[in-house]
C-alpha cells in the first residue's frame, strides 16, 4: 500500500483571507482538512489590563478598538454597562439616536462582511459595491461625531452631542437609495449557481452544537435558534420598534448569508422608524461629574453584528474599574471553526471563516 502523509500547512498570520492576523495550522489529507488549530493573540493589546488603570470615561475609546468594524455597538454596550452599574437613566431622545446609530453600524458591519465574504469566495465585484454603500454610512457617522471608524461618541448617560442639523435628512436620503442597492447584491449572488454551490451545505452546525459552543448572533440563528438580545432582553429602547429576527434552518453558510442580508433590511427599517418617531429632548441624562460607581458588579450584553458583546464591570467604589472584562463574540465564535471545518475541504475553510464573521481586534482584545 502507498504510504500517505498529511500535509501541514500554515495559513496566516499574513494571509489575504483570514480577515486580520489569524494563524491557522491545517493538517490536510489531499484536499480534506484533518485537523485545524487556530492560533490567536497576534492582536492582543492587553485592553483589559489597560482598563484597570483608566477611569470609566477613558475606557470608551478602548472599546472602539475591540471590534473596530462595529465600534458603535461596543460603545453602546460599554456605556450601557456603566449606566447599569450606576443606575443612570438615559433620556428617550438619546436612546432613540443610539438605536439608529447602532442599526446603521450593523448595516455597515454586514456590508464589510458581505464584501469580504464574496471576495474570499471569488466574487470580486460585490466587495466594491458594498463599500460604495458603506462610504455613505461612514459619512453619516462622520457627520455625527467626526470619526469614521472609532467613534467614542456615546457618553455615559446619553450622547456626546445632539444630531447636527441636516443629519436626519441625509440619513433619510441614504435609507431611500439603499434597498435598491441591496437588491443588486442579491441579484448578483443569491441565485448564482456557483455561489449556492460554494455555500450550501458548507460549515453546517446543528442548533445543539451551536449553543454548546456558545455561538451567538447570526452564526447561532443560522442553525435555527431564534435568540436575539434585542428581542429577548431589550435595551436602549429597542422594544419600541417593530422588526423581525431572521432565523435559518440548515445551519450552513448559505443560511447565514441570507440571515445577514435580511438583518440589513430590518436594520434599515428600524432606522426609518427611529427617524419617524424621534422624540425631542435633551441627549444627556443626570450624570455626576466624576464617574465613581458604587461597589458592585454588572454584566451587560448587547447584540452586536457578530454576536453578543458582553461587558463585565467590577467596581470597588473608585474612579477606575477593579476589573473590566469584555466578552468578545469573535473569540467565542472562532472556537466553532474547528468543528465546522474538519472533514471538509480546504477551500471551504476560507468560506467558513467568512461566515463566522470574525474580527481579530475583538477576538484578541
Amino acid at each position: 500500500m502507498l504510504r500517505t502523509e498529511t500535509l501541514d500547512i500554515n495559513m496566516g498570520p499574513q494571509h489575504p483571507a483570514t480577515h486580520g492576523v489569524l494563524r491557522l495550522v491545517l493538517s490536510l489529507d489531499g484536499e480534506r482538512v484533518v485537523d485545524l488549530k487556530p492560533d490567536i493573540g497576534y492582536l492582543h493589546r492587553g485592553v483589559e489590563k489597560l482598563a484597570e488603570h483608566e477611569d470609566y470615561v477613558q475606557i470608551e475609546p478602548l472599546t472602539d478598538r475591540l471590534d473596530y468594524v462595529a465600534a458603535m455597538s461596543e460603545n453602546l454596550g460599554y456605556v450601557g454597562a456603566v449606566e447599569k452599574l450606576m443606575g443612570i437613566e438615559v433620556p428617550p431622545r438619546a436612546q432613540a439616536v443610539r438605536v439608529a446609530l447602532a442599526e446603521l453600524q450593523r448595516v455597515a458591519s454586514h456590508l464589510v462582511w458581505l464584501g469580504t465574504h464574496g471576495l474570499d469566495i471569488g466574487a470580486m465585484t460585490i466587495f466594491f459595491w458594498c463599500f460604495r454603500e458603506r462610504e455613505q454610512i461612514l459619512d453619516l457617522f462622520e457627520g455625527f461625531c467626526g470619526a469614521r471608524l472609532t467613534y467614542n461618541s456615546l457618553r455615559i448617560g446619553g450622547l456626546q452631542q445632539d444630531l447636527p442639523p441636516g443629519w436626519v435628512r441625509k440619513c433619510r436620503k441614504f435609507l431611500e437609495i439603499y434597498p435598491a442597492r441591496q437588491d443588486q447584491y442579491e441579484e448578483l449572488l443569491s441565485s448564482n449557481r456557483i455561489w449556492i454551490k460554494r455555500t450550501k451545505g458548507v460549515g453546517v452546525l446543528s442548533a445543539a452544537e451551536a449553543i454548546d459552543l456558545g455561538l451567538t448572533g447570526p452564526a447561532l440563528r443560522g442553525s435555527g435558534v431564534s435568540f436575539d438580545l434585542r428581542k429577548a432582553t431589550p435595551y436602549t429602547g429597542y422594544e419600541k420598534y417593530a422588526f423581525e429576527v431572521p432565523v435559518g434552518q440548515a445551519g450552513d453558510t448559505y443560511d447565514r448569508y441570507l440571515i445577514r442580508l435580511e438583518e440589513m433590511r430590518q436594520s434599515i427599517s428600524i432606522v426609518r422608524q427611529v427617524l419617524d418617531s424621534l422624540p425631542e429632548g435633551e441627549v444627556r441624562g443626570k450624570v455626576p461629574k466624576k464617574i465613581k460607581p458604587p461597589k458592585g458588579e454588572v454584566f451587560h450584553m448587547v447584540e452586536g453584528p457578530r454576536g453578543i458583546q458582553g461587558f463585565y464591570l467590577v467596581s470597588d467604589g473608585s474612579e477606575r474599574p477593579y476589573r473590566c472584562h469584555f466578552r468578545a463574540p469573535s473569540f467565542v465564535n472562532l472556537q466553532a471553526l474547528k468543528k465546522m471545518c474538519v472533514g471538509g475541504m480546504v477551500a471551504d475553510v476560507v468560506a467558513i471563516i467568512g461566515t463566522l464573521d470574525i474580527v481579530l481586534g475583538d477576538c484578541d482584545r
Binding site: 450606576m86 443606575g87 465613581k292 458604587p294 458588579e297 472584562h325
Partner: protein
Amino acid sequence: MADTPDEKPSPPSGAGGTPPPGPPPAPPRKEAAPDPLKAEVPSVALDRLRTAHAEALAEVTYHSRQVSVRIAPASLLSVLRFLRDDEACRFDLLIDLCGVDWVAPPERFEVNYHLYSIPRGHFLRLKARFGEGEAAPSATSIWSTADWFEREIFDLFGLTFAGHPDLRRILLPEDWRGHPLRKEYPLAGYPDQHLRLR
C-alpha cells in the same frame, strides 16, 4: 453603600471672589437604604438552587437587578451541571467565563460564570474562589465553549483547570513568562520581555 458625590474642590489659597459653587446635583439613585441598585430580584434559578444544592451556596448578592451566587468550589461542577439540565433552569448558553484577581489570600482568584437560558430567558452569575496553586475544575465537559475561556484565564491569571483537554496559553506567546492580569503584574510589563528592535 451609596457613594457620596464628589466633594467640592477646596478653593486655592489666597483666591478671593465668589465662593465655589455647591456640590453637583446628586445622581438620582442616591441616599438612604434600601439602595435600589442592591434590591433583591426574584430568581427561579436561585430558588431551585436553594432547594437542590443549598449546601453549596456560600453567598448571594444583588446589583442592578442581577443575581450573583457564590458556590463552594467542591460542588462547582455538580451545580453547573444541575443548572444546565434542570427543567426550570435550563441554562444552555454559557455566555462568559472570566476571572477576577482579588489578591488577598488565601483565595485570590474568582471565576465568574455568566449563564443564560435561551428557552427560559433568565440570567445568572455564578462565582467560585480559588487560591494560588489550586486547580479549578474545568467546565468543558458541560459546555464546550468553556474551552477557550478557561485557556484565557490560565493565560492571563495563571489559574489551572483540572480536566481541561488542552490547557495552554492562548493570547500570549507560548514562551511568555508571567500572568499579566494579576494585580502585581506591572502595566508596562517587564523590560526584559519587551521586543528588542535593535
